[in-house]
Symmetry: C2
């Protein structure tokens, strides 16, 4: 069933050598005291838990799936899931980054980020149960009333209760403006909510005693469309004043979806039949409140694919070193064996290095964004907070879409390394591919992410946020432009930076004439910007590796080789993407729908 | 569960307008009499059978899979599979292209090609049972003794018996030189064969009364490696002299594989324990004989992905016209409805047109190759036969690898059009993706196809076969170069033709220094040549469509739009691929295996 070992060495490299997080965190009063040893100890504990407890349950979860008792509406999760959750809660993992006021440990997000990767590498379907709780926590933390916070947050922080987000209905996923669930105000200030929700991840399960649903619905007098949607807190069991469990609420799981992947997670159809709910935030401003949760979820989805990329890579690598098949075209490399290990073949290496580079690029990038979130939340200087927030806003759709597209590519390549064995369930490789597929869809399809990036985040403010990232690139190029050894990295980085500027301007001009030009260009455009981001991080990592390549630590040699591979083999995708983005809306829109 | 309607209009276009097959076939004495009506009638019958009988079994096959009785070693296929096979045999479909001497109908391959597409669109897993028989038929027809032919061919032709190819063993897939199964000569001229084979598609089932296994094994004195492999005929039941079933042979199914997809097909572990076998062809020349079957299978695998591409496209299109979500960025297109159908969105069209263009390109290309096979087999002029054979040899790995890569891309895009619904089993979209995945692996992975194309088919004869295809391109470019309306197609076609020539020469030069340069460039190189081929066929199709665009038949308008989409959005992949192919072996080979 394969293997998983948390890539601690590379995580240390990213946190300490690339981002120098302990120094950075010194500027944030809330995190000024954290030191390298503490960080590394946390990661080491996480590595143990994920590889020993969660990873062995990954295949079981895929094979068993979840079961619904249609009489009781109760869901049984796969063997071992509940017990692993108990251990997770006991060890205090859910509380790690939460507010100490509600029992959290108040650690920075950037320290949590590698843990999120490990949790997803070892068991994406399992981690979705606590993962979604965290989004509910954030949403309530920002928009809840003091009473809601004091009732719900401590239980979410401890993991005693979990959370969900209930948005989608059968006729509306992307287009929430169409949603129909209704909320009727009651005399006591609560609401009676009725409607049907679908695709509710972790909507019902046996791992925690209560589930806190955050539900979008319409008030009776609500305006049509997205401006008439409100957010409600709908607990599975209505808590008594002392926090103990009260009456069972009328929100139940009507069916589980049969899916391509993430079988271990319960994807529920939820029926609300006059369920009791309480308003979160302002009436008709539910989408604003939900966006807090959605942004957290989008970053989380990117991390799911990073996790899958890493574990798929590790298993493909092990297989490629072990499997003997054919001789190297340039002569036998293991003459004592009946054939060479397939890692000698250049195209096997291409597949392996694709996964490796996407894992290492995604790790650096996502940790950088996590650090920006810490700065956004905690830096004393408002301007620094604003800059950090702008970067997070800009980069969130890239984390979601670029990293999940890359995860699809990488898991598929890792499976291909296995030849026919990759298609067989017992190797576990095809599960990574199936699990990775949903990440391109949920929490806003990758098309939606691309429109968000190009239309909203970039064109709407004339590229101001993009320029903030561009300034980092520019500074790095200027700083290293005269270093001959860095030429091979700085030159393509500067080049892709220029190309992004030109492309952005060009699309912006065309969009003035026709908004469909945004829709036509958005998907390839996002990947171009993704490559600009990865080029920047690979150039920065290469700089460190160049300086230390003679240190005797072969890690740096490998890092340099991976960076060179990235620039030679992955960055060239931009040559295609830019042509596609520039080809415009006409070839897409010319044909009448009925002639397709 | 979706829908499938055979794309008869486009099939007619390809056969009659693009390839003008009835005229072409007049030059082949064996097929000189076939007329358009006959061809169209056959296609219409095929369309009925596949959409009405096979398509409804596709989802059932996926859900039920096959079951092995471990006592009797018998396999039960999914509900309805056996009955559908009975109808298939009764209607005479297996005999369609077979030799009349053995009961076949002697029809040309080019007429069968659209049927193969339909069979795969409607049910890839089902069609693999009779599909593999056809390869066994071809191999025996070419290499069998007169006695073997008269005993086995009529039963394979009628479909009374089916066939398999037993190559792979646990330690060798690609590298057949390592295989260990043994064949001991017996006094009566037969052999006793012992060994274990894996991944044997249709190795055991309940659809036909007997199964004819073609098995690779080693004679006692065989040289090591691929030069010591012989091919044996090993029937499940040893036929009596009158063709009736005799003793059960010692070749049994030990286990079925659990797979990512094609669940309806039995992927068997086969145990041979002193099984009786008979030599096919010369001792130690088994690979040569098997290659007849393997080439047929490779073309067949390309057709599997074409079939999946088409059916996935049809279902995505239906969904995109029906699903209402968001307004067009350029203003409402269906103001009477609560939202626009998603086909108004440019990126949804990009996904749909990607699948449509790959379906139409693959249909034209594969039918062209099928016609070349007919010419190779039946043209009276030896030089014409040789030219046709060279084209088939050159293009076979492109059919296998380019069409299956495209099938993976297209089915995934078609699934993505469905958003979250695409991930749910009941829409059937994710099955297409899972089924499509194996096609990139079996019958020689796509890496192996790429090495075959670049190393063996192109560099080994200094590009002579490639030049034969290049001459077709060149002639088309010269003929249409002064037609202004054709400019938009001829210019990029000529350009990609030049680029392929230069790239081939460049890699050839580098390969002189280091054979690993072939391995490093092969995969992107194959896709570049694939795009040259598709550019040629889209330019030819566009020419016909331009001439008839004012005919009132909107088919030509759609064809033109699809061709324009291809050149705008898909051909630009070559800008990436050429850079990748040129980047050479160094970035792949620099890192020692242990430092990965």
């Amino acid at each position: 069933m394969g293997q998983y070992n948390a890539p601690l060495r590379d995580m240390h490299f990213v946190l300490h050598e690339l981002l120098d997080v302990t120094s950075e965190l010194k500027a944030l009063p809330a995190h000024a005291d954290i030191d390298t040893d503490t960080i590394n100890q946390i990661l080491e504990e996480g590595a143990k838990f994920t590889s020993k407890v969660l990873f062995p349950l990954n295949h079981i979860g895929d094979v068993e799936g979840c079961r619904l008792n249609s009489d009781t509406h109760e869901v049984t999760t796969p063997t071992g899931f509940k017990e692993a959750y108990r251990q997770f809660v006991e060890a205090g993992w859910p509380a790690l980054t939460c507010d100490p006021e509600y029992g959290g440990q108040g650690l920075p997000i950037v320290v949590y980020n590698p843990l999120a990767e490990m949790l997803n590498s070892s068991n994406q379907a399992w981690y979705m149960y606590p993962g979604l709780s965290h989004g509910a926590y954030e949403c309530l933390h920002e928009h809840g009333t003091p009473e809601q916070k004091s009732m719900y947050l401590p239980k979410l922080v401890s993991g005693q209760w979990t959370g969900t987000m209930c948005l989608t209905e059968p006729h509306c996923g992307t287009d929430l403006g169409l949603l129909r669930s209704k909320a009727e105000p009651q005399a006591d200030g609560s609401y009676k909510i009725t409607g049907g929700k679908i695709f509710i991840s972790a909507g019902e399960h046996d791992m925690a005693e209560n589930i806190v649903h955050l539900v979008l619905a319409r008030l009776p007098d609500a305006p049509a469309g997205t401006k008439g949607i409100s957010l409600f807190l709908v607990p599975k069991f209505i808590p008594n004043a002392d926090g103990s469990l009260g009456a069972r609420n009328a929100i139940t799981c009507g069916a589980l979806e049969e899916k391509m992947g993430i079988h271990g997670n319960a994807t529920c159809q939820m029926n609300l039949d006059d369920a009791s709910g309480w308003l979160i935030g302002q009436p008709n401003k539910g989408l604003n409140a939900m966006f807090v949760m959605m942004n957290a979820a989008r970053l989380g989805v990117g991390m799911q694919s990073l996790g899958l990329t890493e574990v798929a890579f590790q298993n493909a690598l092990a297989y490629a070193k072990e499997r003997l098949q054919m001789r190297s075209l340039s002569g036998p490399k293991a003459p004592d064996k009946p054939a060479d290990p397939i890692i000698v073949h250049p195209d096997v290496r291409r597949m392996l290095l694709t996964a490796k580079a996407y894992a290492e690029g995604g790790r650096a990038f996502s940790s950088f964004v996590a650090l920006q979130i810490d700065r956004e939340l905690n830096h004393p200087d408002e301007e620094v907070r604003k800059d950090a927030a702008d970067l997070v806003t800009l980069l969130t759709p890239i984390i979601k879409a670029f990293m999940t597209d890359n995860g699809w590519i990488a898991t598929s390549e890792a499976m291909q390394v296995h030849g026919g064995m990759g298609f067989i369930r017992e190797t576990g490789m095809e599960q990574y591919v199936r699990d990775a597929r949903i990440n391109m869809i949920y929490e806003g399809t990758n098309t939606i992410q691309s429109l968000d990036l190009l239309g909203r985040k970039i064109l709407m403010d004339n590229g101001a946020k993009l320029k903030k990232f561009g300034a980092l690139v520019q500074a790095f190029v200027e700083e290293n432009g005269t270093d001959e050894a860095m030429n091979e990295f700085v030159t393509p980085l500067a080049d892709i930076g220029d190309k992004v500027s030109k492309l952005t301007m060009e699309i912006g001009m065309k969009a003035f004439q026709n908004q469909d030009e945004v829709g036509a260009a958005a998907v390839p455009y996002l990947r171009v910007v993704g490559h600009l981001v990865y080029s920047y991080f690979f150039a920065r990592m290469a700089k460190i590796a160049l300086a230390k390549q003679d240190s005797g630590d072969t890690f740096y040699k490998a890092k340099l080789a991976t960076a060179r591979f990235y620039f030679a083999r992955l960055l060239p995708e931009t040559a295609m993407l830019i042509r596609q983005a520039r080809s415009g809306a006409k070839p897409l829109l010319d044909l009448e729908a009925e002639l397709f």
